[in-house]
């Protein structure tokens, strides 16, 4: 051998060996530092019905999300946020669930446009904590602040301001979506097909990694609230007529009242209070309500027609017509201050039933629904009624111009049949139920209530041809061609 090649050999070999060893070491460490292994865990929705054993992974870094989403350890997978969907939307029986809660970072905030860019696991509670003191509020808030941005987009949540401001998607400027082939897609209104399928797509188009959300400027942390008591459904619906004066409007409805007072309600409506209306040094100051906790399951039947009737009567009596300033926390989320309130329905859990009915048929439909619930003595501790504004372009969008009724029904042996009775009424009146809360719908009824399901399936097919993203909900309802 010549001298020159030998010299090269001598210098290059040790370098290669060292680099190779380093690479090996790096791999060994990287392997432990990015845990994308799946483990079995019993999961439930917020209604605690059903409970399913799922295979879960919880990535802590962005790149680990893609690894978990594509892992062959599970046949299919669905992303899950804080588990506030009531039914099985974020469950996947015996298959993959991707816990997104650790990816909760704020990426950017542009004060001039009020646009917040955040990872999908960021919770609404966290956003409020950070931005209310600076004078911004969430543009749309569902019934709990313990939801993630990603979950809120996948369900396209609505709030008490839907009649004026529409769904959350109205304020979403951009969605960063991880698709089945590992690509990251930026979805905006320039890509309407994918954007509107991902909005209220129940996580079936991919994993939402981050999104840009336009916040709403506020002057104070108070809501100027007006309480209006109505004597029956007729009066309640009539009172909604003045909704345009209020950004937020909802009616607590006594669904055990019957006969002449069927549908009696307390309307709770309000607007963000202006600075001049609020005393005190810092109008944006707010104190999170003292956390109370439900320590144990209530015994089954603790909430029975008698106890709920008593509660409802008390609540109705305690809310005469009045106007006052209420902090935004108790105004929007009276239940969030009681951690684990879902345990009051006992170990069997409950079904949250929410439907939307078009204006033309809503009075008739609501009457029938309330009569059915009242007659069955199904104790709904919490029932709310509100007006919906326009629908979104989403093929699986829930809201439609009309009224929406939400109630809790304790899980019992006849729960599925009972909700099917309600479904029939809803469908016959041209309405539909909300997938984020559903646990009992069947595929046939789903297709009827969501006539644009094929349009959704086509988009899903193009984004996810192998049907990688599935949930117990999508399998039950055969959404997107899932069998």
């Amino acid at each position: 051998m010549d001298v020159a090649p030998r010299l090269v050999w001598r210098t290059v070999t040790p370098v290669l060996a060292r680099e190779g060893l380093n690479l090996l070491r790096f791999w060994a460490f990287a392997h432990t530092l990015s845990v994308t292994n799946f483990v079995s865990r019993d999961l439930e929705g917020w209604g605690r019905y059903p409970v399913e054993t799922c295979r879960v992974a919880r990535p802590e870094k962005r790149r680990d999300v893609a690894m978990a989403a594509q892992s062959d350890e599970v046949p299919d997978i669905i992303a899950r946020g804080l588990g506030r969907a009531y039914g099985d939307a974020a469950l996947n029986d015996n298959s993959g669930v991707l816990l997104n809660e650790k990816l909760n970072r704020f990426l950017d905030f542009d004060e001039s446009s009020s646009v917040l860019h955040a990872e999908a696991g960021a919770s609404f509670a966290d956003i409020l904590q950070t931005f209310v003191p600076r004078g911004w509020f969430l543009p749309v808030t569902p019934g709990t602040k313990f939801v993630t941005l990603g979950g809120a987009i996948a369900c396209d949540v609505h709030g008490k301001n839907h009649h004026r401001d529409g769904c959350l998607s109205n304020f979403i400027e951009e969605i960063e979506l991880l698709t089945a082939n590992g690509e990251t897609r930026i979805l905006t209104r320039e890509t309407p097909t994918e954007f509107w399928a991902t909005v209220s797509g129940m996580g079936l188009t991919g994993v939402i990694l981050s999104a840009k959300l336009r916040l709403m400027p506020i002057e104070t942390a108070q809501i100027a609230t007006t309480y209006t008591r109505t004597e029956n459904l007729e009066a309640t619906l009539a009172a909604f007529g003045s909704d345009e004066d209020f950004q937020y409007s909802v009616a607590w409805i006594d669904c055990l009242a019957s006969g002449a007072s069927l549908g009696r309600s307390v309307l709770i409506r309000g607007n963000h209070a202006s600075k001049s209306a609020v005393r005190g040094e810092n109008p944006l100051a707010f104190a999170a309500p003292r956390g109370k906790k439900v320590p144990l399951d209530f015994p089954d039947g603790a909430l029975n027609p008698l106890s709920v009737k008593a509660f409802n009567a008390l609540y109705y009596a305690a809310h005469p017509d009045a106007q006052k300033l209420v902090g935004f926390e108790p105004f929007f989320w009276p239940l969030d201050s009681v951690s684990g309130w879902n345990k009051i329905y006992g170990a069997r859990g409950f079904v949250q039933y929410q439907c939307a009915l078009p204006f033309e048929t809503s009075r008739d439909g609501l009457t029938k629904l309330l009569e059915t619930v009242s007659r069955a003595g199904q104790a709904s501790f919490l029932a709310v009624l509100k007006t919906f504004g326009a629908s979104t372009p989403s093929p699986l969008g829930f809201p439609l111009p009309g009224h929406t009724l939400a109630l809790d029904i304790p899980a019992s042996d006849g729960i599925v049949e009972f909700t099917h009775t309600l479904n029939r009424i809803v469908f016959n009146h041209g309405g539909r139920v909300y997938l984020a809360k559903d646990a009992t719908l069947d595929a046939e009824m789903f297709r009827q209530m969501y006539p644009r399901h094929e349009e959704f399936a086509a988009v899903k097919q193009s984004l996810d041809p192998q049907n990688r993203f599935q949930s117990s909900l999508s399998k039950r309802l055969q959404i997107g061609g899932a069998a």
Partner: protein, 249 residues
């Protein structure tokens, strides 16, 4: 001259900034007005952590690439960090006992990262802080280092070494006014422990970070987090060896 040594405007270096506890520590120190120097390998992830701190608290952050096991690079790395008020040493690796018993590379990885790398970088930090007479150092050890358990003793022994190193260093630095805090967390709900069943007193990284912040601020010698671990470990440390070796722990 009354120079501020802890609090708003101070600069803290977080080594292994993308580990589960370190992320929460970054938020906690940023919340209290610290500027951050984030050191680790995953640059994208560190950018994200820095962005988060900036949006939440207006934090100034710097990102510096750092490889724990590239010992030769440590002096150069230290210089590139600039002036620092404190160091939080958070990198670490845990393999299961079974893996570490049967695969030397895995056992060695823990020794190299958890112990050798800590000594390498903290020697440098200690020399500088001692010379100028101020600064704080904290290192993540573990309750696993207090006793050797049959189920986790290779990892545990690397943490025992870290604790002993820190104890000696603390004694050395005492006269110069530099604090050395040993952190002994119990199991924390991060990727390191995710999926391991039935962990006693599993703590959230946020809670652990808050405990660590308070401990470092009051220049504590040893911080157990959550606090009951101090009591539990005191009892376990009192068990004589002839009993300990028979215990299935």
């Amino acid at each position: 001259m009354n120079e501020k040594t802890f609090g708003k405007g101070c600069r803290v270096l977080i080594l292994g900034a993308t580990s589960g506890i370190a992320k929460s520590l970054a938020r906690e120190f940023a919340r209290h007005g610290f500027d951050l120097v984030l050191a680790g390998r995953d640059m994208d992830e560190m950018q994200t952590i820095a962005a988060d701190a900036r949006v939440r608290y207006g934090t100034k952050s710097e990102i510096v690439p750092f490889s724990a096991t590239d010992f030769e690079s440590h002096p150069e790395f230290w210089k590139s960090c600039g002036a620092l008020d404190g160091v939080l040493c958070c990198f670490g690796v845990m393999h299961t006992q079974n893996e570490a018993e049967n695969d030397w590379q895995k056992a060695y990885a823990m020794i190299e990262v958890n112990y050798s790398a800590s000594v390498s970088i903290l020697n440098i930090a200690a020399n500088e802080f001692e010379a100028r007479g101020r600064g704080f150092i904290a290192i993540l050890s573990s309750v696993a280092g207090d006793r050797g358990r049959r189920s986790n003793y290779i990892y545990g022994s690397t943490k025992a070494a870290v604790s002993t190193y820190a104890e000696g260093l603390r004694a050395r630095l005492f006269a110069s006014g530099v604090s050395m805090t040993t952190i002994k967390p119990g199991p924390v709900d991060t990727a390191m422990s995710f999926g391991l069943d039935k962990l006693p007193l599993l703590a959230s990284p946020e809670k652990v970070a808050a405990d660590i912040y308070r401990g470092v601020r009051r220049k504590a010698d040893v911080v157990y987090t959550p606090a009951p671990w101090r009591f539990i470990m005191a009892i376990l440390c009192a068990v004589p060896s002839f009993l300990w070796k028979r215990a299935k722990l």
